[in-house]
């Protein structure tokens, strides 16, 4: 069998990292040929659902490259992206897909060498990780399902608003002139990421057939109490309903959201 050649998708901002990649070309630097580049105006353009979709489609690695902090063409789009990637990595950790398959880094327009180095390094790293478990002819269904749940969570209002407001909450003040310490925000984010992921997972699972708390607990590898806690809040948000009761066990069914 020939050597594993990973598929890597790179999102490069037009002003710094794409120009850095151009410079690597002009300087004839040789690097691994696995990366496929998509040019966007700013790294901040990369909605969390974009890397998730790309990974679901079987990419072995996704790399987002932007301008160095303080050099962003759009003031601080790169820093906004950093917050999104931080959230995404937390989500990925829950799916069973290695978070190392996603990387964010900075390359300036003058750093052709750095671009070549990062690409080579990342390619090596992905080669070591091996093919993505959701690529190829027999993708791991469980991880694929988890990725779908992660994508749904990343599309959901609660997580998006939290990431979108991180800077405001931690650096500026809210309407009550309160500032949130960064570590407090981070643990809140952990909590929300996990809760949203579990809810979306439950939602996905109960779309095909009504399931009991016990069955859901097995499928999500959580304690029944933890599942029930999410079901309660999902019912409040009209995401789920009791389909029917078997004996004394209620079976839940997902509701269309939106």
């Amino acid at each position: 069998m020939s050597e594993f050649e990973p598929k890597i998708i790179g999102f490069l901002c037009n002003w710094c990292s794409y120009a850095g990649a151009d410079l690597a070309g002009v300087s004839r630097m040789q690097y691994a040929s696995n990366i496929r580049v998509v040019r966007v105006m700013c790294s901040g353009r990369i909605d969390p659902i974009i890397p998730l979709e790309v990974l679901m489609r079987g990419a072995d690695g996704v790399i987002v490259l932007g301008c160095h902090p303080a050099d962003c063409h759009y003031v601080e789009g790169n820093l906004h992206e950093e917050r999104k990637i931080k959230m995404l990595k937390k989500l990925l950790a829950l799916t069973g897909l290695e978070p190392e398959r996603l990387r964010l880094d900075w390359v300036s327009a003058s750093e052709g060498q750095r671009f070549a180095q990062i690409v080579t390094e990342f390619t090596c790293q992905i080669k070591k990780l091996g093919p993505s478990p959701v690529s190829g002819k027999a993708p791991n269904q469980k991880i694929l399902e988890n990725l779908q749940a992660a994508k749904n969570a990343a599309s959901d209002f609660r997580l998006r608003v939290l990431v979108g407001r991180e800077r405001e909450l931690t650096e500026k003040c809210n309407v009550y002139e309160e500032k949130m310490p960064q570590d407090e925000f981070d643990s809140l984010l952990d909590e929300v990421v996990e809760a949203e992921f579990v809810r979306q997972k439950i939602h996905l699972l109960t779309q095909t057939e009504p399931l009991s708390v016990k069955a859901l607990a097995e499928a999500t590898e959580l304690k029944p109490a933890a599942v029930l806690k999410q079901i309660v809040s999902m019912r409040r948000r009209n995401m789920i309903t009791v389909d029917h009761v078997e004996g004394t066990t209620p079976l839940y069914r997902a509701l269309e959201v939106g």
Binding site: S33, M56, Y74, E81, A116
Partner: protein
């Protein structure tokens, strides 16, 4: 509607002479392109950007009724405008064009792996075609330009820019925070390499500004707020607590720089005979310099620090300044010994090398030290100092007596710059100076249309360089004002009113204040202010925002074209 037609994409694969053709098997890529969905026509060209190549694109658009065009060649950063132009000439909206970079990102970087490079080129083309199929025509908004400019800063750069614009016939508002014009030139003694008094030069600049009726002077004034966009800025000026609003079409930032006060370095602040070059200028100007026997100058004091978060840039003017002032001291006190302790002597620029030679002829000593082993200034009684330095050229430690130690400290960004950067929505670089749109392609523009930069606000530079840059910025600012109207990029965001819940996340995130909530609480984008970064679209909690020309669908189509799955 024509855009609902099934796409008919034309693909043009460039050999770029041997640049692509010698590595990538171009005919194979062309044949492959023909098999891709929606591709109606594909060909190769020796040079697609040549006039022959461009006419081939134009012919093919007509002959094959193409709806989108893909050129697989070099980087869009340099050649996209050329191909877009050809499309427009053939009646195709320029946003229906997409480029596949198979040179900088392929043939040049995988020169030793022609097979892999060919495979990559095919995939790059496949991705480009997938995106192209989803491209839509866009209209660039046209806006009127008010033929007047605001120049912020009345130093040599600001005055040069203002005078230049005024001579072009535009009304100019020149704002200076101090009572008098001139900025740092007011404090300098003689200017090198002409050995002319700063005050004489200054007089000419002030005259040029004052005598031109197109210039309105606002001294003792600051800019308090700026709203609007290219052609239609509204600036609020503050003159001693009194506010005035002016309408201008363009803005030039010429706010200059400060000189670093090296508190704590080399006994500065502790010993009164340790001063900066800037303070020395002042002493010479006021004729207050006492008789000197031994002078030691220390270069790069607080510059080129080479540490994370430090002032790592070269201030560029200090070498020449030190040489000039060393010569000046020799002139005033011929028996004085002057030693310049340096890390790298770089008297770059016209006539400056000769200046350095002259200093050597006059026996100014140049002693080289290492960044990690800087000289030490030891304060002695009666204001005397001893400077201990490891001369790395003779590898010996020298002890120099000094009755004056002059520190060459770098220019640093002014304190108000941060606020101004926020007000104008223009970035500062890591070194704190204003950051241009592109170091080579747009060196005096900001990414924000209609705002330009010149002088030491942008980076430390000499007076001739500042003046040249000021003229450049005046000329750039003159373009939209002479055109009277401009078109801006169509890459902007659109809000789906039905989905928007008015949460305001985008309003807070937009770096250009381009999004406001209307009376119904729905986010509205000002197309002219929007620069198309897409942060709002990527963050909108309801996914109600789409980017023109970079929609999720278009980006994903390109990113997933070569992947499997759903």
């Amino acid at each position: 509607m024509s855009e609902n037609r099934k796409p008919r994409i034309g693909v043009f694969v460039c050999h770029c002479g041997v640049n692509i053709g010698a590595v990538v098997n171009v005919p194979e890529v062309v044949e492959y392109a023909k098999t891709l969905p929606n591709v109606a026509y594909a060909e190769s060209n020796l040079y697609t950007c040549s006039s022959e190549g461009l006419s081939k694109i134009k012919e093919a658009i007509k002959k094959y009724d193409l709806t989108q065009v893909v050129v697989a060649s070099c980087t869009p950063r340099t050649h996209e405008p050329v191909f877009r132009g050809a499309c427009e000439e053939a009646g195709l909206n320029k946003y229906l064009f997409h480029m596949a970079n198979i040179r900088e990102h392929c043939s040049w970087v995988h020169a030793k792996e022609p097979k892999k490079a060919t495979q990559k080129a095919k995939e790059i083309v496949k991705m480009a075609v997938a995106r192209a199929a989803l491209l839509e025509p866009q209209t660039e908004p046209e806006i009127d330009i008010q033929p007047s400019a605001l120049v912020i800063g009345g130093g040599v750069s600001g005055m040069s820019a203002a005078a230049s614009l005024a001579r072009q016939g535009f009304a100019v508002h020149l704002v200076e925070k101090e009572k008098t014009l001139g900025g740092k030139l007011n404090d300098l003694y003689k200017l090198c390499p002409i050995d002319k008094l700063s005050s004489e030069i200054l007089e000419e600049f002030v005259q040029a500004v004052r005598s031109n009726p197109n210039v309105t002077l606002h001294t003792s004034s600051t800019v308090k707020n700026v709203e609007g966009f290219v052609g239609n800025f509204k600036a609020t000026l503050d003159h001693k607590g009194k506010e005035e609003t002016i309408d201008v079409g363009t803005i030039i930032v010429a706010t200059g720089a400060d000189v670093l006060k090296p508190d704590g370095m080399y006994c500065y602040g502790k010993c009164k005979n340790v001063i900066t070059q800037f303070e020395l200028e002042r002493l010479m100007k006021e004729n207050e310099l006492k008789t000197l026997k031994n002078v030691v100058m220390i270069q790069c004091a607080g510059a080129r620090e080479g540490k994370e978060g430090g002032r790592n840039y070269c201030s560029r003017i200090c070498c020449a300044t030190a040489v000039k002032n060393a010569l000046e001291i020799k002139e005033l006190y011929p028996s004085a010994e002057v030693a310049v302790l340096y890390r790298d002597m770089q008297t770059y620029g016209k006539d400056f090398e000769e200046y350095y030679q002259k200093a050597r002829e006059k026996y100014v000593q140049f002693i080289r030290f290492d960044r990690d082993d800087p000289p030490e200034v030891i304060a002695k009684p009666r204001g005397k100092c001893t400077v201990k330095v490891h001369d790395i050229l003779i590898n010996d430690i020298l002890e120099l007596d000094a009755d004056l130690v002059v520190l060459s400290t770098p220019l640093v960004q002014i304190e108000e710059a941060k606020e101004l950067s926020k007000m104008l929505r223009v970035p500062l670089g890591a070194d704190g100076f204003f950051f241009e749109a592109h170091v080579k392609l747009r060196p005096v523009d900001f990414a924000t249309d209609g705002i330009f930069v010149c002088g030491t606000a942008h980076s430390p530079k000499t007076i001739p360089e500042s003046i040249a840059q000021a003229y450049a910025s005046a000329s750039r600012a003159g373009i939209p004002m002479a055109m009277k109207h401009v078109r801006t990029e169509a890459i902007t965001s659109i809000v789906d009113e039905d989905l928007c819940t008015g949460c305001g996340t985008c309003v807070k995130l937009c770096p250009y204040n381009a999004i406001r909530k209307d009376e119904f609480g729905i986010a509205r984008v000002n197309d002219v202010l929007c620069k198309g970064c897409g942060v709002c679209a990527a963050s909108c909690p309801e996914k109600a925002i789409t980017m023109r020309h970079f929609s999720d669908k278009q980006v994903l189509a390109e990113a997933t074209a070569t992947l499997g799955g759903s």
